[in-house]
């Protein structure tokens, strides 16, 4: 029996809790990892089992460095620093993160490991495109600085590598300049999926950010109707302090005894959400949290799904396979699981990073209850996704099979050969890597 106390950890979806030993990254003793190895963990926002390592060690990120070069927008930042902390520091200086996920409570280490993307992917790519160097602890015990020039394969495998190439300690990231902390946002309400998609395509040319919420609770022609929002950072803000950035603390809610989301509340919410959106509105001024991180307004919002947890299923299919998106929404609408949050986005060019998720195409994200029925429905869809040449996002995944990963990530052997070189004994491993045979 183990002597050290163990802790229960799970992903944000709360589906597969396990026991692990927790250590801080400042005090890592690799000789104490044992046979089940270790995986780094930031704020635990990966939905599935990416940042857990059952029976093994989980290394918590702790650093606090934020060193911004005001002139160039290059920032040297600890892996443990969250996007939230980074924004509080850099927005007043006129800088912004190049890529924002749907939550600002992700760490820089996590953002690199998942190679996160945002509403601006069509123009700005994913997080890894903006990372200039990474300092990391390899399985050999060496602390090394890796740049795209010094070790291109290791760098490419680390951005999107789900923490499996080593412990990221610090990174240098290029920020983008902004002249205010406000967003100028336009909204279009679209009555069907075709309208949603064409609105998004049209908006991409002239807008840095585009995204759509789509409705999978109505059937027939209206299925996939949605609300497209697009916009950019506001050019100038009236007032004395254009770059003031003071996000409100998240509201705490008690954990509900039963899941608040079910097929009835999901449908009511979706109907109301759709109707309250304006048919068309241009250049509304919104704050950064209101535009980028609406769910962060509620602390631990994942608890609305109850004890059983949920999956956030995200796939991408090539642009000409938009039928798969249509079919996915129709399948969900037909089987009526609890559902209210589906997000559609069109990706721009992908990268050469072997486990990086984005590729040119449509990406659909659906929050669904973690039931056997939903699992079998999603598996049916997965076959269509893979047949179309698509893939699944590992930072969200808790369901797909090893075969689905091999099919979706044809470059995975490049990733494996990097690991064979820097970590032949698989010191860095996770439940995700064990489940999917990464």
């Amino acid at each position: 029996m183990s002597v050290a106390a163990t802790h229960r950890v799970s992903g944000w979806g709360n589906t597969t809790p396990v026991r692990v030993r927790l250590v801080d990254d400042a005090e890592v003793d690799m000789s104490a990892f044992g046979s089940r190895g270790a995986i780094p963990r930031g704020l635990g926002r990966a939905y599935g089992d990416a940042a857990q390592n059952s029976g093994g060690t989980v290394v918590r990120a702790t650093g606090e460095t934020i060193d911004l070069d005001d002139a160039t927008g290059l920032v040297r930042v600890s892996a443990a620093v969250s996007i939230d902390e980074l924004l509080r520091h850099v927005i007043p200086a006129g800088w912004f993160v190049p890529v924002s996920a749907g939550t600002r409570f992700v760490t820089i280490g996590g953002a690199i490991a998942a190679d996160i993307h945002g509403k601006n992917h069509h123009r700005d790519g994913s997080f890894g495109d903006w990372v200039r160097s990474v300092r990391m602890l390899l399985a050999s015990g060496d602390d090394v600085v890796v740049t795209p020039q010094s070790d291109p394969e290791l760098f490419a495998a680390t951005c999107g590598g789900m923490g499996l190439t080593g412990l990221i300690r610090e990174a240098t990231v290029q920020l983008i300049p902004v002249s205010s902390s406000q967003m100028a946002v336009s909204t279009r309400r679209c009555n069907d999926l075709d309208a949603v998609m064409s609105t998004m395509v049209d908006a991409e040319d002239t807008n840095r950010y585009t995204v759509a919420w789509v409705d999978a609770t109505v059937r027939g022609a209206r299925c996939g109707r949605g609300i497209v929002t697009f916009g950019d950072h506001a050019e100038d803000a009236s007032g004395a302090d254009p770059t003031a950035y003071r996000p409100r603390s998240p509201v705490r809610i008690p954990g509900p005894a039963v899941p608040l989301v079910n097929s009835v509340t999901g449908r009511i919410f979706s109907e109301m959400w759709f109707r309250r959106a304006p048919r068309a509105r241009d250049d509304e001024t919104m704050s950064i949290p209101a535009y980028f991180h609406p769910l962060d307004g509620v602390d631990r919002w994942n608890r609305v799904w109850g004890r059983r947890g949920f999956v956030q299923h995200q796939f991408v299919v090539p642009l000409d396979a938009d039928d798969v998106v249509r079919e996915a929404l129709a399948t969900v609408a037909a089987s009526r699981p609890a559902n209210f949050l589906n997000v559609l986005k069109r990706f721009g060019p992908g990268s050469d990073r072997p486990l990086s998720f984005p590729m040119p195409g449509w990406t659909l994200t659906m929050d669904l209850p973690a039931t056997a029925e939903v699992a079998s429905m999603l598996r049916g869809l997965d076959e269509r996704v893979l047949a179309a040449g698509g893939r699944h996002y590992l930072a969200k995944d808790a369901l797909v099979s090893p075969a689905a990963v091999s099919a979706g990530y044809p470059d995975i052997e490049r990733f494996r050969s990097v690991r064979d070189r820097v970590d032949p004994n698989r010191v860095w491993c996770s439940d995700l890597s064990r489940r999917l045979g990464l």
């Binding site: 029996m1 597969t16 089992d49 059952s54 999956v311 056997a372 099979s401 489940r435």
Partner: protein, 254 residues
């Protein structure tokens, strides 16, 4: 490892030829499953079961020799299974023999093998599996008990007492294991139509191996500690447990 809907990669059955275990497997095997291990005394019968399993080509089905009464070998068998397939995600303990109470009373020594197969062997193997699961930080032990263990009747005194010991052992283990991320589900079926009960008159609330398998798989997914099959037996035995002994005797030994 486990996926979000409770589907697992590796499933190990001790008493791998048990009809109830095979029926349970059918409900537990998902597209996430990569290996099924049938550990049993009769390896040929185990191979026949392996052949009959409806699984995808990607699932490795392994038959391993395991004799409930060969206690000294159990730790080695559990280690060998772990070395072969990796994590023990779900372990089903389905070994057991019903025996004949009258024959046991006529030949008392024969009760030793009967108790070995129903309690001693399963306890040794479950302890070995529990140790492995603690080290993994996750896992699920499924123990096939019986309603006969809840209130033991004279007509099945040895079987009922043995199952009662196993049932209580499993529940007590569960209290300690939950802190290590390991779940335990105790299955209490009533009379199950099948090979084991062939030729015996069915009791009220009789059920089938498939019904037990379906209920067990559902209980495993939900992480329930005790499952009665059919579920009405829970209420029936709540009453039976409270009956004064003369009254229970009159009903049970009819």
């Amino acid at each position: 490892m486990r996926d979000a809907s409770g589907g697992v990669q590796n499933i190990v059955v001790f008493g791998g030829t048990s009809e109830i275990a095979v029926a349970t497997l059918a409900h537990l095997i998902t597209p996430s499953t990569t290996a099924v291990v049938l550990a049993c005394r009769d390896v040929d019968a185990g191979r026949a079961v392996a052949e009959s399993l409806d699984v995808a080509d990607t699932v490795e089905v392994v038959v391993e020799h395991w004799d409930a009464t060969a206690h000294d070998s159990h730790q080695g068998v559990v280690d060998a299974i772990g070395a072969r397939v990796g994590d023990l995600d779900i372990v089903i303990m389905a070994a057991g023999v019903l025996g004949n109470q009258d024959a046991l009373e006529a030949d008392p020594t024969s009760a030793v093998g009967m108790i070995d197969a129903n309690v001693t062997g399963p306890v040794v193997t479950l302890l070995a599996c529990a140790r492995q699961m603690r080290a993994q930080g996750h896992g699920h032990l499924v123990v096939l008990s019986s309603v006969a263990s809840v209130r033991v009747r004279r007509a099945a005194a040895v079987y009922g007492a043995a199952k009662s010991a196993l049932d209580q052992f499993a529940l007590a283990m569960a209290d300690g294991l939950s802190a290590d991320g390991v779940d335990v589900t105790v299955v209490r079926p009533g009379f199950v139509h099948g090979r084991m009960t062939a030729g015996r008159p069915p009791a009220p609330f009789a059920t089938t191996p498939d019904a037990v398998g379906a209920a067990t798989a559902a209980a495993v997914r939900r992480g329930r500690r005790v499952v009665w099959v059919p579920s009405a037996l829970r209420a029936v035995f709540a009453v039976l447990s409270l009956l004064p002994r003369p009254l229970f005797r009159a009903i049970a030994d009819r």
